[in-house]
C-alpha cells in the first residue's frame, strides 16, 4: 500500500473549564490512505466528532489538543501556525457537517458561497468560478443548478443543501474530505443518494474520505476500512470486511447486534448495550468497556493491541480461555 495521506497518532484532546482539564480522547490513532473511505464509528459522545474537528483545528475555545500528532503529508497539523493551516483548510482538506440548517451563511446566495473558496484557493476569476460551481452542483445531482446558484440556503430543501455543501467542500479538489455524520439529519432515500455521491467523488477524484458515523449500516455500505471508537479511544480497526465479519472487540460485536434488520421478529427486543459510557472514563485504568462487557465478569486481563492479521487490530484483553488470539 502507498503511504497514508493522513496519520493520526495517539491524539489526546482535552477540554478545559477554568483550571479543570478533562481529557475527551486519548490514544486515538488511525491512518487514512488516498482514495479510500475510512469510517470512524462509535456511539454518541465517544469522541469521533471532536477528533474530526481537531484535524482542521476547529475545536474552539474550550478544547485543545494536548498530545499526539496529526500528520498530513508528513506535516504535523497540530503544530502548524494558523496562517499555514489556512492553506490546508478547504484547499487540501475540507469538511462537511452534520447540521444542514446552519452550515451555510443564511444571508448569501449559494452561488456566492460556492465560488468564494475557489476564488481564494484556486485564484479563479468570478465567471470561471461560477461556471465550475454550476458544473459541481449538477454533478451532485441538483437538477436546476443555475437556479440553485441564485437561491438562498433557506430556499433549498435539506437534501439539496447537503448536496450544495458537498459541492462547496469539493470545489477546490481537496485530497481529503471529512464528513461528520453528513446524513444524520436526512431521510433514508436522500441518505442513500448522498452516500452514493460521496462514493462517486472518491472514485472520480481519488479523494480520501473520512466518514464519521454512528450507523453500522452506513459502515457496511461505504467503508473500505473501519475504526471503532469507544470512550475516547480507538478499540478496533481493520478492513471493513474483516471487522464486520469477524469483530474481535466485544464493543464492536455489541454495536453490530444493536442494528435492527428487516427479518427480525417484532416481538423480539432489539439488543442494546447495557449501561452507559462511564462519565469520567478518562480516569479509568485498564479496559473502559469492562462494566458493560458481556465478558466483564470473567475477564481479568489488561487490554493490549491484538494483531489479528491483515491490518485488523483490536484493543482488548487477550482471550485466555481459548488462547488463540495471540498466537493466531
Amino acid at each position: 500500500m502507498t503511504d497514508p495521506i493522513l496519520e493520526v497518532r495517539d491524539l489526546e484532546i482535552s477540554f478545559f473549564s477554568g483550571k479543570k482539564r478533562t481529557p475527551r480522547t486519548d490514544g486515538v490513532r488511525f491512518s487514512l490512505y488516498p482514495g479510500e473511505i475510512l469510517c470512524l464509528v462509535g456511539e454518541s459522545g465517544c469522541g469521533k466528532s471532536v477528533t474530526a474537528l481537531s484535524i482542521l483545528g476547529l475545536l474552539g475555545d474550550a478544547g485543545r489538543i494536548t498530545g499526539g500528532e496529526i500528520l498530513f503529508d508528513g506535516q504535523d497539523l497540530v503544530r502548524l501556525p494558523e496562517k499555514e493551516l489556512d492553506r490546508v483548510r478547504g484547499n487540501e482538506i475540507s469538511m462537511i457537517f452534520q447540521d444542514i440548517m446552519y452550515s451555510m451563511n443564511p444571508v448569501f446566495r449559494i452561488g456566492d458561497q460556492l465560488t468564494e473558496g475557489m476564488r481564494k484557493h484556486l485564484h479563479m476569476a468570478r465567471p470561471e468560478a461560477e461556471q465550475r460551481a454550476v458544473e459541481l452542483l449538477r454533478k451532485t445531482g441538483i437538477r436546476e443548478p443555475e437556479k440553485a446558484m441564485r437561491a438562498y440556503p433557506h430556499q433549498l430543501s435539506g437534501g439539496m443543501r447537503q448536496r450544495a455543501m458537498i459541492a462547496m467542500a469539493v470545489a477546490c479538489r481537496p485530497r481529503i474530505l471529512i464528513a461528520d455524520e453528513p446524513t444524520t439529519a436526512l431521510d433514508a432515500t436522500i441518505q442513500l443518494q448522498i452516500m452514493a455521491l460521496l462514493r462517486r467523488l472518491r472514485d472520480e477524484e481519488n479523494t480520501a474520505v473520512l466518514l464519521i458515523t454512528h450507523d453500522i449500516g452506513v459502515v457496511a455500505e461505504m467503508a473500505d476500512r473501519v475504526v471503532v471508537m469507544y470512550a475516547g479511544q480507538c478499540v478496533e480497526d481493520g478492513t471493513a470486511e474483516s471487522v464486520l465479519t469477524a469483530p474481535r472487540h466485544p464493543y464492536t460485536r455489541a454495536l453490530m447486534r444493536a442494528v435492527p434488520t428487516l427479518n427480525m421478529d417484532r416481538s423480539e427486543r432489539l439488543y442494546s448495550i447495557p449501561g452507559q459510557v462511564p462519565e469520567d472514563y478518562h480516569a479509568l485504568s485498564g479496559c473502559r468497556f469492562r462494566d458493560r462487557c458481556p465478558n466483564g465478569q470473567r475477564c481479568a486481563g489488561k487490554p493490549v493491541w491484538l494483531d489479528l492479521g491483515g491490518g485488523h487490530r483490536a484493543y482488548c484483553a487477550p482471550d485466555l480461555a481459548d488462547g488463540r488470539d495471540q498466537d493466531g
Partner: protein, 281 residues
Amino acid sequence: MQSNLRHIARRFLRHRAAAVCLVILTVLILAALLAPWISPYGPTKVTKDFSKGPSAEHLLGTDQSGRDVLSRLLYAMRTSLTVGLMATLISTAVGVLLGLLSGYFSGWVDRCIMAFTDMVMSFPYILLVLVAAAIFEPGMWSIILILGFVDWPGVARLVRGNVLSLRETNFFKADIAAGMPRRYILFSEILPNTIAPVLVYATSVFAISILDEAALSFLGMGVLPPTPSLGNMLNGAQSITILTSKPWLWVPAGSLIILLVVCINFVGDALRDALDPRNDR
C-alpha cells in the same frame, strides 16, 4: 435579492401605522432637504414684524427678532436631522466595530472592550453630555460627536451578542474549515448577519439623538443661535410670557420633534418585523 426586498416591503406594509409614518417622514425629510428653495424667508432674515402671530405673510408668525418661524422651522429640521443622522452613524460605526472585535476575540480583548462599554453605559448619560458640552465649544459638530460617543454601547453589546451566537453556528466553522482569512469571515460573513438588528437599533438611536439634541439646545448647550435647531427654537419657551401668550413660537417646533420621534420609532418597529423572515405568512 429583488424577491427578498419585495418580501421585506410586503412585511413592512403590513404595519399600516408605520407605512403612514414612513410617508410623513419622507415628506419631512424632503422639506428639510429643500428648505433653501421652499422656505419663504431665510433662516436668519430679519423682517419688519416682531413677535407677530400667524398671518398670510408669515404662516407661523415671527419671533422676537422678527425672523419668520416657518422658515426657521424648515432649517431647524435640517439641523436636527443632520445631528441625529450623523450621531447615529458615528455611534453605530463605533458600536459595530467594537462589538465585532469583542465578540470575535474572546479573552482579554473582549474583557477590555466590555469593561469600557460598561463604563460608558454606567455614566449618568445627560450629565456626561452636559459636562462634555461645557468643556467643548458648543455647536452642531460638538453635539454630533458627543452624542455619537455616548450612544454606541448599546450597539456594541447587541453586535457582540450576535457574533457570540454566530460563532457557534456551523457556517462559521465551515468558513474556517474552508481556510477563509479571519478578516474576511468577520467583515464579509458575520457582519452581514448582524445588519438587520443593528439597523433596527439604529432607528431608535436616531430618534433618541434628535431628542437629546433638542434637550441640549433647549438648555443652550447644543446648537447655538442664530443657527436654528428644533431644540433652540424651544428655548424661547423658557419665558413664561411666551409660553402662555405666544404659542406659535414653540408649539410648531415641539410638535415637530414629537412627530419625528414617533414616526422614526414606528418605522423602526415595522422594520424589525419586516427584516425577520420568520414573520412571513
